[in-house]
């Protein structure tokens, strides 16, 4: 396996997938972030998106500032603990200096004083990590999406979902309520404890190698869903996996979700025969309503044909490499 393949968080442990389970597992090691070789590229892309369409990528409600500082504290400590050569943090009481060796930046600010930062705290710290950062607040035994920096959405709108409860956010997922998953997962989140982080995966398919699949630009990237053929499926279709890490913030009772999105073109996936088998099983058993929801329906036929060909042992990779 090459490096990109070996670090890809392939989500299927077997050939079936339970769409309504709480598939969370304890997070080990307990770090909210991961730096991959794509760091420079993704940080650059993130900042470009933030500069170009800020309100699409960043939203917050006014009373989240304290929780945002907790996120800054958590993420910067995790960066320096997990990658001590790349990231440094000096603290002189509330005067913090953060050094990012990968971007060559040095940030000085007064912890707790938003005016000492060029952006809001969450917007600031998110610019140094590949992950999207979503902050839910727990108020009166309910969870609300109250702030987020989202540059790589899987076709969902931060602007529209801001302020929603957990159940309201997930209203569009077919079967999510009827199958009891909504209540089960909400209860799990409400009882999450500080000091015990969790992780879960979420997967989808994307036609085209786009991390930034915003619903605002759906007319631009969505058309590729209709351009898939059996010949281009291997390079056009990507398995998109979001590694979500969940942390309870001890001071404000907020919950931080960090979302690291990984993409793998099918032509690389199929080289792992075991992955190809499991993936093919999962995709061919995909219920229609989930396929619709994940936007797969328009290219289901060419996708199946492509996988069938691969399963038959066609050596298509070689042709694609030549193209």
């Amino acid at each position: 396996m090459n490096d990109a393949l070996s670090r890809f968080p392939f989500p299927f442990k077997k050939g079936t997938y339970d769409y309504y389970a709480n598939n969370s597992i304890p997070l080990q090691p307990p770090y909210s972030i991961e730096v991959t070789p794509a760091y420079q590229h993704e940080i650059h892309l993130k900042r470009r998106l933030l500069n170009k369409a800020h309100s699409r990528c960043y939203q917050s409600l006014s009373h989240t500032e304290e929780a945002q500082w907790e996120v800054v504290e958590l993420v910067l400590h995790h960066l320096t603990a997990a990658y001590p050569k790349e990231f440094l943090l000096h603290k002189e009481k509330d005067n913090w200096t953060f050094i990012n060796q990968l971007t060559g930046e040095e940030e000085r600010f007064v912890f707790g004083d938003a005016a000492s930062l060029p952006f809001e705290p969450l917007d600031f710290v998110g610019r140094h990590v590949q992950e999207d950062l979503i902050l839910m607040m727990q108020r009166d035994a309910e969870l609300f999406l109250e702030a987020g920096q989202l540059c790589f959405p899987g076709n969902w709108s931060l602007v529209f979902k801001l302020g929603m409860t957990f159940h309201e956010i997930h209203e569009p997922i077919p079967g999510f309520f009827e199958r009891g998953a909504a209540d089960k997962i909400r209860t799990f989140l409400l009882h999450m404890e500080a000091g015990r982080p969790w992780m879960r995966n979420n997967w989808s398919l994307t036609a085209g190698n786009f991390l930034d699949t915003f619903p605002e630009t759906y007319h631009e990237w969505g058309i590729h869903r209709h351009r898939v053929t059996v010949d281009n499926a291997g390079s056009l279709i990507h398995l998109r996996v979001e590694v979500q890490k969940l942390f309870r913030l001890p001071g404000t009772q907020g919950i931080l979700f960090t979302i690291h999105t990984h993409m793998l073109p099918l032509k690389q996936l199929v080289r792992q025969r075991e992955w190809l088998h499991r993936f093919t099983q999962v995709v061919t058993q995909l219920p229609d309503e989930i396929a619709d929801y994940k936007g797969i329906t328009p290219y289901k036929q060419p996708l199946f044909a492509y996988l069938h060909k691969q399963m038959e042992g066609e050596k298509e990779e070689k042709n694609e490499i030549r193209q």
């Binding site: 500032e65 076709n155 969902w156 302020g163 605002e216 058309i223």
Partner: protein
């Protein structure tokens, strides 16, 4: 940052399905607030309240300020029955929530024109629509598919971008 604290935590979805009130017994007091007199739902409730000898006040839709003051003066145990058009109900519930009432302490009968607001996925413009399934955004011209995904903050339904070769879907 947006300052929408009150809105977020307390604003709630107004159920427009309810046509009648259900009397809630054992409350210290009931306040019945109606936009118009002679509403059947209100008359029925009044009969029930009187039958049971419960304490109540019937208030005609008065000045905004007076109603806000009335709400703010209430003690724990007061229950609200609100009947009116969507616009008026929105005003009243906002005032009630500001005073400290919760969803569990009131009932709403909402009548009149059922118009709804639609949020454009592309440009975020919000427009008022009727009962269409698909409309064009009045601001950016994008073709939108009306969904049942609703935001209390925006008081609007989500309008998905519709491609000529329609599919849609949100992949979460």
């Amino acid at each position: 940052m947006k300052s929408d604290n009150e809105k977020i935590v307390n604003k709630f979805v107004i159920q427009t399905k309810r046509r009648k009130f259900t009397f809630v017994p054992n409350r210290r007091k009931s306040i019945i607030l109606a936009e118009e007199t002679n509403l059947e739902a209100v008359d029925e409730l009044l009969r029930e309240v009187k039958n049971r000898g419960a304490a109540y006040s019937l208030i005609d839709a008065g000045e905004k300020k007076e109603i806000a003051d009335l709400f703010a003066r209430q003690k724990i145990g007061t229950y609200l029955y609100l009947a009116g058009t969507p616009q008026r109900i929105k005003e009243w519930t906002a005032m009630a929530v500001k005073a400290g009432f919760t969803e569990e302490e009131m009932q709403i009968v909402c009548y009149g024109a059922e118009e709804q607001r639609l949020f454009c996925a592309h440009c975020h413009h919000i427009q008022t629509i009727g009962k269409e399934d698909a409309v064009q955004c009045a601001h950016c011209g994008m073709q939108l598919e009306v969904s049942s995904h609703y935001s209390r903050l925006h008081d609007a339904y989500y309008g998905y971008i519709q491609l000529p070769c329609s599919d849609g879907g949100e992949s979460r």
